[in-house]
C-alpha cells in the first residue's frame, strides 16, 4: 500500500511507529512544518530519520516566517496544487494524524 500521512503538530505522532506501508509519505502541514525547519539543540527533528518521503506545504512555511531555503534537504516543498497532485497520483490511502 502507498500511504501518505499528514502531520500537523510539532510532536511526533506515536502511531507512526506502527504504520506499515510499501511506500510511506509524510506530509508536514500547519505546525508540522516545524519538523522540516527547526533544529532543536542542533538536531533535526527525529521524524526526518524515518524511511519515508517527506513533503511540506509552502503556504504553511511562509505563514510561519520560513523561506524554502530553511527547509531540510530531505523535504520537498509543495504548494496546495502540488499537494493535490501528490495525493491523487502518488498515494492510495491518506491518514490525518
Amino acid at each position: 500500500m502507498k500511504l501518505a500521512v499528514f502531520v500537523h503538530e510539532y510532536r511526533e505522532p506515536e502511531v507512526l511507529d506502527r504504520l506499515k506501508a510499501e511506500k510511506l509519505g509524510i506530509i508536514l502541514v500547519q505546525n508540522g512544518v516545524y519538523h522540516a525547519t527547526v533544529k532543536k539543540d542542533g538536531q533535526p527533528s527525529p521524524i526526518l530519520s524515518r524511511n519515508a518521503e517527506f513533503y511540506a506545504l509552502s503556504e504553511d512555511l511562509a505563514t510561519r516566517g520560513f523561506s524554502d531555503d530553511k527547509v531540510d534537504p530531505k523535504v520537498k516543498v509543495l504548494n496546495y496544487d502540488g499537494l493535490v497532485d501528490l495525493i491523487f497520483n502518488d498515494y492510495e490511502k491518506i491518514l490525518w494524524l
Binding site: H8, N31, V38, K39, K40, A62, R64, G65, S67
Partner: protein, 136 residues
C-alpha cells in the same frame, strides 16, 4: 498603584489562538486604565519561552496567504504601544535562532521600544514580581 501583569507564551502560533489572545489581551490591558482611579495603572509584560519563541520569527506571511493577522503584526503593535516584550535567550539558542531571525523592533510603525532577548532568570523575576501571571 501600578498592577503588573505577566503574559507568558509557551505555545506555537496559528494552530490555536493562544498567542494571539496573549498579545491582544496584553495590548488591551492598557486600555483598562480609563476605568481606574488617578494613581492606578496597569503594566503588562509579554514573555516568550520554550516553543513560544517561534512566534517571534520575522517575515510571517499569514495575512497574504490565509487572510489572518500574523503574530509578527501583533508583536509590532505591542512594541508600538511601548509594551515590554521579552524573549528567552536560552530557548532562542535551543532552536538555533538569533536576534536576526526574530522581530526586534517596529521602527517602520514608529515604535521606540525594542524586543529584549534575556536569560530565563530575568523572565522568572518578571513572573515573581508580577501581580498576576497569565500563561498561554
Amino acid at each position: 498603584m501600578i498592577k503588573r501583569y505577566a503574559f507568558v507564551v509557551n505555545k506555537l502560533p496559528y494552530k490555536a489562538e493562544t498567542t494571539r489572545l496573549a498579545l491582544t489581551h496584553a495590548i488591551a490591558s492598557q486600555t483598562a486604565e480609563i476605568h481606574l482611579e488617578d494613581g492606578q495603572g496597569v503594566e503588562p509584560v509579554i514573555a516568550f519561552i520554550g516553543e513560544g519563541v517561534l512566534n517571534c520569527l520575522k517575515n510571517q506571511k499569514a495575512l497574504d496567504i490565509y487572510g489572518v493577522t500574523s503574530q509578527e503584526m501583533h508583536l509590532k503593535n505591542a512594541l508600538l504601544l511601548d509594551l515590554k516584550v521579552l524573549v528567552c535567550k536560552e530557548d532562542l539558542e535551543r532552536f538555533g535562532l538569533s536576534q536576526d531571525d526574530i522581530v526586534m523592533d517596529a521602527e517602520e510603525l514608529g515604535a521606540e521600544v525594542t524586543t529584549q532577548v534575556v536569560p530565563f532568570d530575568d523572565i522568572m523575576k518578571e513572573i515573581e514580581t508580577a501581580d498576576q501571571v497569565l500563561y498561554f
